[in-house]
Amino acid sequence: MAEEVSSQMNSLSISETNPSSSATISLVSGDDIVFKVEPTIAKEMETVQSFIDETDGKITTIPLPNISSHDLPYVIEYCEKSIAGKITKEFEAEFVKKLNNEEVKELFLAANYLNIKKLLDFLSQVIADRIANKSVEYVRRYFGIENDFTPEEEAKLREELAWTFTGVDPDDEDEN
């Protein structure tokens, strides 16, 4: 992998005098899989685009160590739809149907890392929908949050917030 990156960088530096704007961008996932995408897709990913801009478009292979090859295709698919202006309620419903809770969270982290505003907003809504009306214990498990309150502290807090605790759904069993 490392060799592949450096050789590509060499070939690009040779053609420096004539940088081709339509060259595809290679995104390298954390588990070393290369995804080739159109520059327009990269534009949707602010983190990637700013990397390209900083190097004046000379570097077109971008390592994304925080994103797995499992998640990246979803991100790319969403960006493609977004560019085509085809983000509909139906598409989003289908898109989210394919994802379990873990995948939603991973994609959210990916969208946050890549700084894709639309995807971030969409996934925020998905996460919000999935933790809405759930018990505190359920939400802790969902995010993997460790409860660092003492039972007394938590009881006191719950009492203070009693005015907001009405109509919480019973916890689902494993939803994955």
């Binding site: 954390g30 588990d31 160590p65 925080n66 994103i67 797995s68 499992h70 873990e102 969270k105 991973e106 959210f108 982290l109 946050n112 971030l120 907003d121 925020s124 809504q125 996460i127 919000a128 929908d129 933790i131 809405a132 009306n133 505190v136 214990e137 939400v139 802790r140 498990r141 995010f143 993997g144 949050i145 460790e146 409860n147 660092d148 309150f149 039972p151 938590e154 807090l157 719950r158 917030l161 005015w163 907001t164 605790f165 009405t166 109509g167 919480v168």
Partner: protein, 369 residues
């Protein structure tokens, strides 16, 4: 609190670390997210739920302060008794607004299914507007009468969405103070001019407005409305009902308009003053207007030189006996490159085609020739 969640938590942790190595030991997925990102997620929750998250852990206790949007919906309050439900909702909104009285959030949405005392709703609106929010969305089930002053003084407001309001506009009021407003959506809202307006004209200034959308919005106490909207890009007007007699002329001074949509019944006269329009989409339903009037309406709209035009007139007689001269009178469509006609008779086609030198695409749908 009890031990079972910890078991489940442990199991989940294990599963996660197995599936994704890069997520170090499958720890708290939110620990590596900045506060404002979590605040962002919380802003998509009903505010009632968002407040619950302060019990999650010590970090989350103060993450609520990063919330950027409040969402109040009285359907989130489940009580069999309507009275208790309303009371607990009012209590909740009052307390929540007190809780966030320092502001810091950008949007507020208020959706009410029940009927509340109008002074109560007005108080909430005035409180949140004083917090310099950027987006306000209010959905009501029962009409609320307000004065335009309530909104028109908000320099920070960028998006205003109102459903079922009756807004009284004073003709003397200076309306350019909504200087940041970029999106205005009004549903089932009645706008009336106060009786002191003798000239029966009203001029509204929205210097930053980009999008204007109305659904079944009616005007009264005025004959002519002028909208000074230099940055306006999109206009969408819909009428799904015809239950009124008044007729208003609405004129948009919008030199940068790109998209115009009109659908539904023919009610007001719409005039567009614009340099170039990329697309116009007009769908008209049958109503009690005479064909002559519909023809007038269409030809007035068509004088805007769009580059692309979709015209759908769902009125059969229009095809057979439509007011031909209105189509032949229109100025040449110098810019028109795309024309789609639905239910519009072919007898006008030739006269239209003669006036469209740049036409590239012509789509005819269900045309009874």
């Amino acid at each position: 609190m009890d031990s079972s969640p910890i078991d489940a938590f442990g199991r989940r942790k294990h599963k996660l670390s197995k599936r994704q190595k890069s997520n170090k030991e499958g720890q708290d997925l939110t620990s590596n997210l900045p506060n404002h990102v979590i605040g962002h997620i919380l802003s998509f929750l009903p505010t009632k739920e968002a407040i619950h998250t302060s019990v999650l852990s010590k970090r989350w206790l103060y993450l609520g302060t990063f919330i950027t949007g409040l969402n109040f919906d009285d359907r989130d309050f489940y009580y069999s008794s309507c009275t208790i439900r309303k009371k607990s909702f009012i209590d909740f909104v009052d307390r929540a607004l007190l809780h966030w009285n320092s502001g810091g959030f950008q949007s507020v949405s208020l959706a009410l299914l029940e009927t509340y005392d109008s002074s109560c709703i007005k108080k909430w609106i005035s409180v949140v507007l004083n917090l310099r929010i950027k987006k306000l969305c209010v959905n009501l089930q029962n009409e609320l009468a307000v004065s335009s002053d309530a909104f028109f003084k908000c320099r920070f407001l960028e998006e205003l969405i109102l459903n079922r309001f009756a807004i009284t506009v004073s003709s003397f009021v200076c309306l350019s103070s909504l200087s940041s407003l970029t999106i205005l959506k009004l549903c089932r809202t009645k706008i009336s001019c106060d009786s002191s307006n003798e000239s029966e004209t009203l001029t509204l200034n929205f210097p930053a407005l980009r999008k204007y959308e109305t659904l079944d919005c009616t005007w009264s106490g005025v004959k002519s409305v002028t909208l000074q909207v230099p940055l306006l890009e999109v206009v969408s007007i819909k009428y799904t009902s015809v239950s009124r007699d008044s007729h208003v002329e609405i004129k948009f001074y919008a030199s940068r308009l790109t998209k115009f949509c009109y659908s539904g019944f023919v009610l007001d006269t719409i005039l567009l003053d614009t340099d170039s329009l990329a697309s116009a989409d007009i769908s008209l339903y049958n109503n009690e207007k005479s064909l002559q009037e519909i023809g007038m309406f269409v030809s007035k709209l068509l004088s805007i030189y769009p580059e692309s035009l979709k015209l759908c007139v769902c009125i059969k007689q229009f095809v057979l006996a439509g007011s031909k001269h209105h189509f032949t009178d229109i100025p040449p469509f110098g810019m028109l490159s795309y024309l789609e006609l639905n239910f519009v008779g072919c007898e006008y086609l030739l006269s239209i085609l003669l006036k469209t030198p740049c036409l590239k695409t012509l789509v005819l749908k269900v045309c009874h020739c």
